[in-house]
């Protein structure tokens, strides 16, 4: 059963399965009841609580004409319209109220049995019963269809419910912090903060792909897989807030002010797996400003120094040259010296 295969390993899911099975049981019981109703109607020939009989239209016409009676006379005697008498006579075996059948037989001076449709006795019973049986089954079909529709609706609701539960127990995010620019070939830091909340043990796969011309110099914690332009961390106990950092450098390859784009993804695996793109800044320009000088005014001010400590200072062992940033902050400014390949600090 699809539902049983789909719903596993959860008390909530088991409850849903139980509810669905209960409804399937109800459907089966209803179907049984409908069969019973059909069998009963075979014997009683009751339509909405009124006894019905199947008369022979041709026999009624024959008896009426034999006695030179008009349709108006019959209609008046029975208490129906002439159109009704005409219709009964035209139809081969119309079904009429037993009460009207009796009156009709009396007017024609015969017994009821004589005007009943009588190919044979079984056929009569069948002709009497058939339309009634159909009438009895029709609401049963509606009930069955309504139940099936309800089960489908319940399944869809359960699917979204279980999906929502997964989201609820499976929240994660990944945000990258990196400078918007750096000097070609000089190292700069990148930190990806992963927040993961889950009730279950899960493994994380964080992947960072660097643009062409960029190299990874160091990673903290050490990357599980590392080549020159990509890193992968596999964390088997991925619960909580974690920082994955690396030191990289990019070379301009002759194109000044070239924008480099970083791409990252985080894959979380539990019963199913989900992947998100690492959020946050992803572009880096190669310019002649220090990576910590975010407003590119050749001064590192208080806010920029605090940002360095806040964003990158907490990652131990990454090797960010915070002392150089401090020295520039303590001076009144800096300028890039391309020939010496270093920053000159203005006192």
């Amino acid at each position: 059963m699809f539902v049983e295969n789909w719903v596993v390993n959860s008390s909530r899911r088991r409850t849903i399965v139980t509810i669905l099975d209960l409804f399937l049981l109800i459907v089966r019981v209803k179907q049984k009841n409908l069969v019973s109703i059909k069998h009963m109607s075979d014997k009683k020939s009751v339509k909405s609580g009124i006894a019905m009989v199947c008369i022979s239209g041709s026999e009624v016409r024959h008896l009426r004409e034999q006695q030179n009676l008009t349709q108006l006379y019959l209609a008046t005697a029975v208490g129906v319209t002439t159109e009704t008498i005409s219709r009964w006579e035209r139809q081969g075996s119309p079904t009429v109220k037993e009460e009207n059948g009796v009156k009709l037989a009396e007017v024609l001076g015969v017994s009821l049995e004589q005007i009943l449709f009588s190919e044979d006795a079984g056929a009569v019973a069948e002709k009497i019963v058939e339309p009634e049986a159909e009438t009895a089954i029709r609401p049963a079909r509606i009930v069955a269809m309504a139940l099936v529709a309800f089960i489908v609706l319940l399944s869809v609701t359960a699917f979204f419910f279980v999906g929502y539960q997964s989201v609820d127990t499976f929240q994660f995010s990944a945000r990258r912090v990196m400078p918007t620019h750096t000097v070609s070939t000089l190292p700069f830091p990148v930190v990806v903060t992963v927040a993961f909340v889950s009730e279950k043990e899960s493994s994380l796969l964080l992947k960072e792909e660097l643009p062409p011309g960029c190299n990874v110099l160091r990673s903290v914690p050490p990357a599980t897989l590392l080549d020159r332009e990509s890193l992968k961390w596999i964390d088997k106990k991925g619960h909580g807030l974690k920082k994955f950092a690396y030191l990289a450098s990019c070379s301009s390859q002759g194109k000044n002010q070239e924008t480099q784009t970083f791409i990252g993804s985080l894959l979380v695996r539990q019963e199913s797996h989900r992947e998100i793109i690492v959020d946050g800044p992803d572009r880096l320009k190669l310019l002649e400003y220090h990576w910590a000088d975010s407003d590119m005014d050749n001064v590192i001010d208080d806010e920029e120094l605090l940002a360095v400590y806040d964003d990158f200072g907490s990652v131990e062992g990454l090797g960010v040259d915070v002392e150089e940033v401090e020295r520039i902050w303590m001076g009144s400014g800096y300028r890039w010296k391309p020939q010496e390949h270093m920053f000159e600090i203005i006192p």
């Binding site: 208080d302 605090l306 400590y309 806040d310 964003d311 200072g313 401090e326 902050w329 303590m330």
Partner: protein, 132 residues
């Protein structure tokens, strides 16, 4: 009569609140107040909350012509042209910290002013406290 009394009470309450705000200014992570800011010294009190910010930068602007005799703890940077004394406090511990500046001579006017900056420990936004 009763209304006048209530009005006075409200005014007094507002004044007390305003005075309290003026005496001590705080941001998420740090609060600061001058304990002394006249004569030959200033004592700036910093209260660092738990969790503390990663680092705090304290700027004190002293009146022109005033010469610093000593500083405790020692300052990180002094811009003579702007009369700005800076402290970079890395990984501060939660608690109280006093920054004392002793001058040669007395402070003129309203004394020193201070600008304290740090990043919010909760969301990383820049917090600035100004004491005048």
């Amino acid at each position: 009569m009763k209304n006048k009394r209530k009005f006075r009470q409200i005014v007094v309450l507002l004044l007390v609140v305003l005075l309290g705000c003026a005496a001590e200014v705080h941001a998420e992570g740090v609060s600061a107040a001058y304990l002394e800011n006249s004569g030959d010294r200033t004592i700036l009190e910093l209260q660092v909350t738990d969790p503390p910010p990663t680092s705090i930068i304290v700027n004190q602007i002293i009146p022109a012509g005033v010469v610093i005799k000593s500083a405790s703890p020692g300052y990180t940077k002094f811009s003579a042209g702007k009369n700005v004394v800076k402290w970079l406090l890395k990984h501060p511990r939660p608690g109280v910290l006093w920054i004392v500046l002793v001058y040669e001579g007395t402070l003129p006017g309203k004394g020193a002013t201070a600008i304290i900056r740090c990043k919010s420990p909760s969301d990383g936004t820049l917090m600035t406290i100004e004491l005048r």
